[in-house]
Symmetry: C2
Subunit: 203 residues, 2 copies
DNA sequence: GTCTATACCAGGATAGAC
DNA sequence: GTCTATCCTGGTATAGAC
C-alpha cells in the first residue's frame, strides 16, 4: 500500500472509490485520470494495466487471508481455535473493508484480475472450508462450512450500515458463524491456548 | 422464457453459458453470435442491447422472488412461516440456478443491467430483511437477518458440487438459516397453517 | 420477420517526445 | 513523470437484402 500523497497512492484511492461506486467495468481509466488530475496515458506509467490496478487494491487482503489460513492449519481444530480463526477472518474483512466490499460487488472483475493468483485464491478458500468442515466430513458438514463462510460476508453488509456499532457486528456475525458450524458438537481434544502468540503475530 | 429451439431461446441459453463461464463483460456479442451461428447484428434484432439480454436471463428469478416477498408480508411472522418462506427462497434459487449463480458471480453487471428495476430489487431485499428481522428489531436482529440471507447464498455454492444431493442441500441450508435467526426465540402467536394454499400458488 | 454489411464511437493499450 | 498521437476491440446503430 502506497502513501496517500504519492501519485501512485492517489490513483489507488480514487480507483477504489470509483470502482465501489460504479463497478469496475463501468469505470474508465480516463475518469480515474481526470479525477487525479493526470492523463490516461500517465496512469500506465504507474500501473501496467487496469487489472494490475485492481490487483493492487485486493492484494493486501489476499495476503492477510493467506496468513490466516496458513495459521489455521497449524492449529488443532478445537472449538476455541475455530472461534479464533473466524474472528480473525472478520477482522481481516473489516480492516480491508474498502477492498472487500468492492470484491463482493465485482466478483467477476476480481476473478479476472486475479488471474495470476487465481489458483492460489481458490485453493485458499477451499483450504479454509476443509479446515472448518473437519476431518472426514459428511456432506452436511461441507454445506455447513460453506454456509459459515457465507455468514462472514454479512460482516460487510452490516458494516455498510452507518449507525451499526462495529463490535456488535463482530460479535453477532461470529456467533452466527459458530452456530452454523454446530461448534458444540466438535470434540475438544487436548487443551490448547487459542491465542497462540505465533499465530496472533502472523495475521 | 423462450423455448430452446427458437433463435431467441438459443441466444439466451448460449449467453447464460458464456456469462457464467467468463463473466458478462468478458463475453462479446460476437462470441455469442458465433456460437449460435448468426451474426452480431442479428442478435440486435432479437435483443435491443446486451443489457436487455442479461435482463431477460434474470427477470424470471426476480419475478419469483417478488412473489415470495409479497406473500411473506401477508403471513404472520411465526417460526413455521419463516421456515416456509426461507424454504421457498431456497427453491427459487435452485429453480433458477443458471441465472442466480451468474448473478452471484457478476453482481456489478447485474446491478447495471437491472437499472430499470434496480429500485424494485433493492427494496425487495430490504423488505425480506425487514420481515426476517421482525418488528422493532435490535441491531443484533438486523445483523442476524442479513446473515440468514447470506446463508441462502450457500445453496448455490453447494449445488455447484456435483456429488451433493439436492435435498440434503435444501435441508442443511434451511437449518443453518433458521439457526442464525434464533427462530426458537420468536413468539408463536395464533396457530396458522404454514402451507397457506394461496401462498403456495404464487411462488 | 429474419438476417447481412457497414459505419460509428468509447475505452484500453502502446510508442515516442518532452 | 507526464504528455500527444495512434491503434484495436467491442457495443451500438442503421440501411437494405431475402
Amino acid at each position: 500500500m502506497d502513501a496517500a500523497d504519492t501519485t501512485r497512492g492517489r490513483i489507488r484511492a480514487v480507483a477504489v472509490e470509483l470502482f465501489t461506486e460504479q463497478g469496475y467495468d463501468k469505470t474508465s481509466l480516463r475518469e480515474i485520470a481526470d479525477r487525479v488530475g493526470i492523463t490516461k496515458a500517465s496512469l500506465y506509467y504507474h500501473y501496467p494495466s487496469k487489472q494490475a490496478l485492481l490487483l493492487a487494491i485486493i492484494e493486501p487482503f489476499l495476503d492477510d487471508w493467506t496468513a490466516l489460513v496458513d495459521a489455521a492449519e497449524r492449529l488443532p481444530r478445537t472449538p476455541a481455535n475455530i472461534r479464533f480463526v473466524l474472528e480473525r477472518g472478520i477482522d481481516a474483512m473489516l480492516r480491508h473493508r474498502d477492498a472487500t466490499s468492492m470484491m463482493l460487488r465485482d466478483v467477476a472483475a476480481v476473478v479476472t484480475a486475479l488471474a495470476p493468483r487465481l489458483e492460489d485464491a481458490k485453493e485458499l478458500s477451499e483450504r479454509m472450508r476443509t479446515w472448518l468442515a473437519g476431518p472426514d466430513p459428511a456432506p452436511a458438514d461441507v454445506i455447513r462450512a460453506m454456509a459459515a463462510v457465507e455468514v462472514l460476508g454479512a460482516t460487510l453488509a452490516a458494516a455498510a450500515v452507518p449507525e451499526m456499532p462495529e463490535d456488535e457486528v463482530r460479535r453477532v456475525v461470529l456467533d452466527a458463524a459458530v452456530g452454523v458450524l454446530r461448534l458444540s458438537e466438535v470434540a475438544e481434544p487436548a487443551p490448547q491456548p487459542a491465542r497462540d502468540p505465533e499465530v496472533a503475530a502472523t495475521c
